[in-house]
Symmetry: C2
Subunit: 120 residues, 2 copies
């Protein structure tokens, strides 16, 4: 049944620089718990089969949908509903926690090449 392991988010984030390259830092049921650095704009995409849980850890994050946007600071979260086309954006940079099922492509249904699933 495993045991308890403390995961420090800032420490994990300090171990890489790449933007839009999610790193898996833990597992929860069938989901991957990830940290990501957002710099500039990501591509428009949707996840047809899953919601996306996004919590801002550092910086300001804009999550845009076609019909409106939310701007989030540290300690604010948003759930992007399954099927909703969206795009994340940050100037200059935001750090976020993302929870979604293992196997979910960060580029969703856009047809763009997805980032590999990297565990740190």
């Amino acid at each position: 049944m495993g045991t308890l392991r403390k995961i420090n988010l800032a420490e994990k984030l300090s171990s890489f620089e790449e933007a839009f390259g999610p790193r898996i830092i833990g597992r929860y049921n069938g989901d991957k718990i990830q940290v990501t650095k957002v710099r500039g704009s990501f591509i428009w995409h949707a996840h047809q089969d899953t919601d996306d849980l996004i919590l801002v850890l550092d910086g300001k994050l804009v999550v845009e949908a076609r019909d409106g946007a939310v701007e989030l600071g540290p300690g604010e979260l948003v759930v992007v509903p399954a099927g909703l086309e969206h795009r994340t954006r940050a100037e200059p940079e935001a750090h976020i926690l993302v929870v979604e099922p293992a196997g979910t492509l960060n580029t969703g249904d856009s047809g763009e090449v997805a980032a590999p699933e990297v565990e740190i």
Copy 2:
């Protein structure tokens, strides 16, 4: 498919005082996203069918298992594996984010009365 709604964790936490009374602040797939205030020690319990994702937002949280404990500060998380008997503890208080499937009892398999599922 819904839309985007910003959720501010500190604002949600400031709306109640009760310890060990989780408040549901959002939904992610079949899961409830909750904030909880921990003050003193909770009871020993396990969740046989689900992991528990716990992120500390404020204060110091100790999560004890029978074979060891972790102490977490803000920005640190732990996944309590399904089936692992555990107990949370904080002196004087910690604020935490907890994600687990809807219907999961906060008292697990302990036989103690569970807190109601309250959405705020």
